[in-house]
Subunit: 351 residues, 2 copies
């Protein structure tokens, strides 16, 4: 649906107004001039209320569909290493990928605040489009609503992903077994600390950059090399600590961590000390936790480290029996402490 | 993932706070005590980052997947005939259904404003769950974020639906052909006028109630009886007028309407006159526009009227040749006017 409007959108100085959400000509123009060119693909081009995906007959027999969704409300919208657009793609691509599926299709729904500059919206949309292209997914359908000034906060983006899981892959947070090993694909806490530093306008000697990235390639390589992997999970909100507690609860096990083995960048550790944070609770947006049988330790590390996103991968602990489903950690000084769920601290709007 | 928390959520007097979006224990408790019991199904119960849908092998050969998404920001959240929860299910179920697919799975992502009462959230979630049950779809995965007071407006809900389209069904807004007939399944404008009356605190003699409803049953019956149907579309934001303009542009045709044939409830017509609105631009949330070859007129009307949701269905016009892709209407007084896209008027946050 390409039309000629009397005046094109002023993408340099214009702003979103309530008519862009009213479903009439202004909404159509916003879609035609801003969203459609960025996300262009055959399904979207039809301009229907939804998208027709693939012929199921083309998928491997016994494959399964996987669906995941995320609302993104990160503040600020632009941060070192990314923005809400790329994050909205990476977050959902990763949720599909950790289910063992190849992400294929995304939907995107936008809630815009009246007065939001088109120029910023265009940056965000272009960044989403680039992230989707590089992750090999198509943004096939979407929706845009506008709320009055003071009833939103610039842009919120909900993305939903659908992917295809090959036959035989069986992953869940409930699959960890006593004796398994626990790995992380890289240093933890970069994303959370990058956002907080940005929010607090802190400048550190070495800038802290979000790890926001799509992990489907790393995960595909890992699963090809080590089909025995039992759990994959990306430690986003709540960080490594909270995600491991979730897995412990889902699987009905305990987890024993070795603090000295957990990779944390020196700049992130320093910033956390300054901000009074624990890097284990700071969100990652480009890391994956891997749990696999201990006999595959060497294979897992080799597969992760062979990928550019997994060079700093480490084995950080193991699954133990524990009726309380605690996550405990041997500290760098040789003591032991419980690593609880995120409770008192608040790290809101990190993603 | 069922856990025992020190104190259960106070669903009567409690309120959402920032910790419920931080991804830690409070987020887990909100999911466990409010969302999970309402939406309960095996995929959701696993507590993973996404949901595994069906075995593809179980679907008809040659079937296709359809995906649709909507952000819902309706204000007020509760209105005569529905609320944002039911609307979020109906809106997306209908977008999947008008693509000719049977809606199967929904994702739901919530953006909550700090301070929002749990009691209202529970009403909304229960209403979503009831709407999903009655539409035969499962809410299989979700996400919840919280924004600070003044950065949101109570609750926004984005839903994404995936459905399965049987082989041979081919529907699109681009398929209308000259000579085809245009039908609507019932009176138009009820939803939009119900919301506006509610917002303006207007009381009419006969209360105007939203038509919010899931249309998949009506549509399945119609397609079974009349497989020749070419276009289905639900006239939501922008109403019948704007949706017909979209179809005219997509298909490269004109549309000629007969005003006297378009069903509008007397109470809606009266309210529109009072509010200075045109019912043709007021949103419906439980009506479908049908375009089919003229030789099927009797079949279409019979199929629609045989269903409780289509008793007041009417043939309202036909597809004509028009290089300008205008929608024109013969008025009740015998004149002709152009029915343009929604432009000047603003009916924001209607869905």
């Amino acid at each position: 649906m390409k039309r000629n409007y009397v005046r094109p959108l002023d993408l340099k100085n214009g702003r979103v107004d309530m008519t862009h959400g009213a479903g009439g000509r202004a909404s159509a123009q916003l879609i035609a001039e801003l969203f459609a060119p960025a996300f262009d693909n055959p399904a979207l081009r039809r301009g229907d209320d939804g998208a027709v995906l693939c012929e199921l007959a083309g998928l491997p027999l016994g494959a399964r569909l996987v669906m995941a969704t995320d609302a993104h409300v990160v503040s600020p919208l632009f941060f070192p290493g990314g923005d809400i657009g790329a994050l909205a793609v990476h977050g959902t691509v990763n949720d599909v990928a950790v289910m063992g599926a190849e992400p294929r299709w995304l939907s995107a729904s936008f809630i815009l605040e009246e007065g939001f500059p088109f120029a910023e919206l265009k940056c965000i949309v272009d960044s989403m489009a680039a992230a989707a292209r590089s992750a090999g997914v198509h943004i096939v359908t979407g929706d845009t609503k506008v709320v009055e000034q003071g009833k939103g906060d610039g842009v919120f983006i909900s993305t939903t992903g659908v992917g295809v899981r090959r036959p035989g892959v069986e992953l869940s947070g409930a699959n960890a077994r006593v004796g398994d090993s626990v790995f992380v694909s890289g240093p933890v806490g970069d994303h959370g600390v990058a956002i907080l530093s940005c929010r607090e306008e802190l400048a550190f000697d070495s800038p802290i950059v979000s790890d926001s990235a799509a992990l489907h390639g790393l995960i595909a390589d890992l699963l090809a090399a080590v089909p025995q992997v039992r759990v994959l999970r990306d430690p986003t909100r709540g960080g490594l600590a909270t995600t491991l507690n979730e897995i412990a609860a889902q699987s009905g096990v305990g987890i024993a961590l070795d603090e000295s083995a957990i990779p944390v960048r020196p700049a992130v550790a320093a910033a956390c000390e300054f901000l009074g944070l624990d890097p284990l609770y700071a969100a990652c947006e480009g890391r994956v936790i891997v749990i696999a049988p201990a006999e595959a330790d060497a294979l897992v590390l080799a597969a992760l480290r062979a990928h550019p996103q997994g060079r700093e991968a480490a084995r950080i602990g193991s699954i133990i029996e524990d009726p309380h489903h605690f996550v405990q950690m041997t500290t760098a000084f040789g003591g032991t402490r419980i690593v609880d769920w995120l409770t008192g601290e608040q790290l809101p709007r990190i993603c």
